[in-house]
C-alpha cells in the first residue's frame, strides 16, 4: 500500500524530460519532491508562474510570490511571470504536457468530480474545470476509497462533475489504473496489495488481464 508520498513518487516516474506540468493542491503538490534524477520538468502554477521552485528559506518569503495553493514559493532561473488570462491561455491551448489533480470521485468513462458536495462543501472549481477540459494528459492522484471505506472509482460519479471523459490514468494507494473505453484497466498493484483487494475497493468495472506486476518504486 502507498502513502501520499508513495503515490506522488509513482506519478513522478511518469515525468518526461522537457515537460511542462501543472500540479493540483494536495497529493499532486508532493510530486515536485520526487522528480527522478536526470529529468528536467517545469512546473506551472495557474495563478501566473512557470518555473516554480521550492519553498523559500525561512525569512525570505515574499507575499508577492505564491502558488495556486496560496503558499509562498520561489522562482527558478529561467522562470516567467504572467497574468491569469495568459496562464489559462497556456492551459486551454494545450501547451502543458501533464496535469495532475486530486478527485473525490472518478468514473470508468473518465469523468471526474472534485469541486462540490451539494449542501455541504462549496469551495468552487478554481482552475480545475479549465484544466480537465483542455489537458491531453490527466493523471488523478487520490486514495482508492473515501474515509468511510467507499470506493472512489465508480461506474458513474454521484457528485457534480468537474469534467467529462477526460481522466486518462489514476494512481491510488492501491493501484495504477488506466481509463479505457471498456472501463478501469488495472496496470500495476501497489507494493503488497493483491488484485483481490483492488477489485473489492473498486465499484466500477475493473479489467484485469494477465499477470499484474507490482509497482517498482
Amino acid at each position: 500500500m502507498l502513502d501520499k508520498n508513495g503515490i506522488a513518487k509513482r506519478i513522478a516516474q511518469e515525468l518526461e524530460n522537457g515537460w511542462y506540468v501543472n500540479l493540483g493542491i494536495g497529493i499532486p503538490t508532493l510530486i515536485a519532491n520526487h522528480v527522478p534524477p536526470g529529468i528536467n520538468v517545469t512546473f506551472q502554477s495557474e495563478n501566473g508562474i512557470l518555473g516554480m521552485g521550492p519553498f523559500p528559506y525561512d525569512g525570505e518569503e515574499d507575499a508577492d510570490l505564491i502558488n495556486a495553493g496560496k503558499q509562498t514559493i520561489t522562482a527558478l532561473p529561467g522562470s516567467s511571470i504572467f497574468d491569469s488570462a495568459t496562464s489559462f491561455a497556456m492551459i486551454r491551448g494545450q501547451h502543458i504536457q501533464l496535469t495532475v489533480l486530486g478527485a473525490m470521485e472518478i468514473s470508468q468513462s473518465g469523468d471526474i468530480a472534485n469541486w462540490k458536495i451539494p449542501g455541504k462543501m462549496v469551495k468552487g472549481m478554481g482552475g480545475a474545470m479549465d484544466l480537465v477540459a483542455s489537458a491531453e494528459n490527466i493523471i488523478v492522484a487520490m486514495t482508492h476509497t473515501n474515509k468511510h471505506g467507499k470506493s472512489k472509482l465508480l461506474k458513474k460519479c454521484t457528485l457534480p462533475l468537474t469534467g467529462v471523459s477526460c481522466v486518462k490514468r489514476v494512481v491510488t494507494n492501491l493501484a495504477l489504473i488506466d481509463i479505457t473505453k471498456d472501463g478501469f484497466k488495472l496496470i500495476e498493484r501497489a507494493p503488497g496489495v493483491s488484485v483481490e483487494q483492488i477489485k473489492e475497493s473498486t465499484e466500477g468495472n475493473l479489467i484485469v488481464q494477465g499477470e499484474i506486476p507490482e509497482m517498482d518504486i
Binding site: G48, E61, Q71, V122, M129
Partner: protein
C-alpha cells in the same frame, strides 16, 4: 483637495489624492471587479475605503472572496455584497455561511473562463467559445457548439462599473507594472472597467517606467493613487529551513 485638482495640467494626469477620492461615483448596487488571487495583489486600500464608504448591494467580480478578516471578507462582514462572481471561495467561513443560508448570491465560474471573460470585456469581444465546464453544472443554460469534434460552451464578456486593481508601480498616465504573482487577475480586469482605478505601491512621473516593460498601458486606467498603507498579508506561509 480642490487645489490638487486645479494643479492637474492635463487629463493625461490621472492622479487622485486618496483611496477615498478614487472611489468617487461608486454607488449601491454597482458591479465592481477587484484584482488579486487569494490575498496576493488585492487593492487593500480601496477595499478599506469601500468599507468606510458603506455602499451596499454590490456585485463583486473577484477570483476569491478573501479571508474572514481581510480582503473582500471585510465587505462580506459588513454585508455590503449582494452577489459574488468568483472561481474559488474556500478559506472563508463567513462567506460559506452567507452562501449556504441564501443571503449571498454566488456565481461560480471556472478560473480560466473568468480571466478570459474579463479580458474579452476589455477587448470588445462580446463572447467566445471555451471547452471549460462542458458537461457540468456550469454548462446549464449555455449554448454548446462543436469545434474540431470537441464540445465548447459560449461564454459572454464581463465588464464592471468600476474595476479596481493593485500594481507595484504606476505613473501619472496610468501605466502599470506588477510584481511577481501579484499580477494575476489585475491586467485583464484593468481592461474591463468602465472606470478603472489603480492603487500602486509607488507612483512615479511619466518617463520613469520603461515603455517596453509596461504590463498595463495607461489607456485602460482612469484614476491612480499611491496606496496609503500595505499590509500584504500572507495566506499560507510555507518555508524551508536553511540547514
Amino acid at each position: 483637495m480642490l487645489a490638487f485638482f486645479h494643479l492637474q495640467y492635463s487629463k493625461m494626469d490621472k492622479r487622485v489624492s486618496s483611496s477615498e477620492a478614487a472611489l468617487k461615483g461608486v454607488q449601491d448596487s454597482m458591479t465592481i471587479m477587484l484584482g488579486g488571487f487569494g490575498l496576493c495583489g488585492i487593492p487593500e486600500n480601496c477595499i478599506a475605503a469601500l468599507v468606510k464608504l458603506g455602499v451596499t448591494n454590490l456585485t463583486c467580480i473577484s477570483n476569491n472572496a478573501g479571508v474572514d478578516d481581510f480582503g473582500l471578507g471585510l465587505l462580506l462582514q459588513h454585508r455590503q455584497i449582494k452577489k459574488m462572481i468568483s472561481s474559488y471561495v474556500g478559506e472563508n467561513d463567513e462567506f460559506e455561511r452567507q452562501m449556504l443560508s441564501g443571503e449571498l448570491e454566488v456565481d461560480l465560474i471556472p478560473q480560466g473562463s473568468l480571466a478570459a471573460r474579463c479580458y474579452a470585456g476589455g477587448a470588445g469581444i462580446p463572447a467566445f467559445y471555451t471547452p471549460a465546464g462542458y458537461g457540468t453544472e456550469v454548462a446549464s443554460m449555455k449554448e454548446v457548439r462543436y469545434f474540431n469534434g470537441k464540445p465548447h460552451l459560449l461564454e459572454e464578456a464581463l465588464t464592471a462599473d468600476f474595476a479596481i486593481v493593485k500594481a507595484w508601480k504606476g505613473d501619472w498616465h496610468g501605466n502599470l507594472v506588477y510584481k511577481g504573482t501579484a499580477r494575476n487577475f489585475n491586467p485583464p480586469m484593468a481592461m474591463a472597467g468602465k472606470i478603472t482605478i489603480a492603487e500602486v505601491e509607488e507612483l512615479v512621473a511619466p518617463g520613469e517606467l520603461d515603455p517596453n516593460y509596461i504590463h498595463t498601458p495607461g489607456i485602460f486606467v482612469q484614476r491612480i493613487f499611491q496606496g496609503e498603507k500595505y499590509e500584504k498579508r500572507i495566506e499560507q506561509r510555507t518555508v524551508r529551513s536553511k540547514s
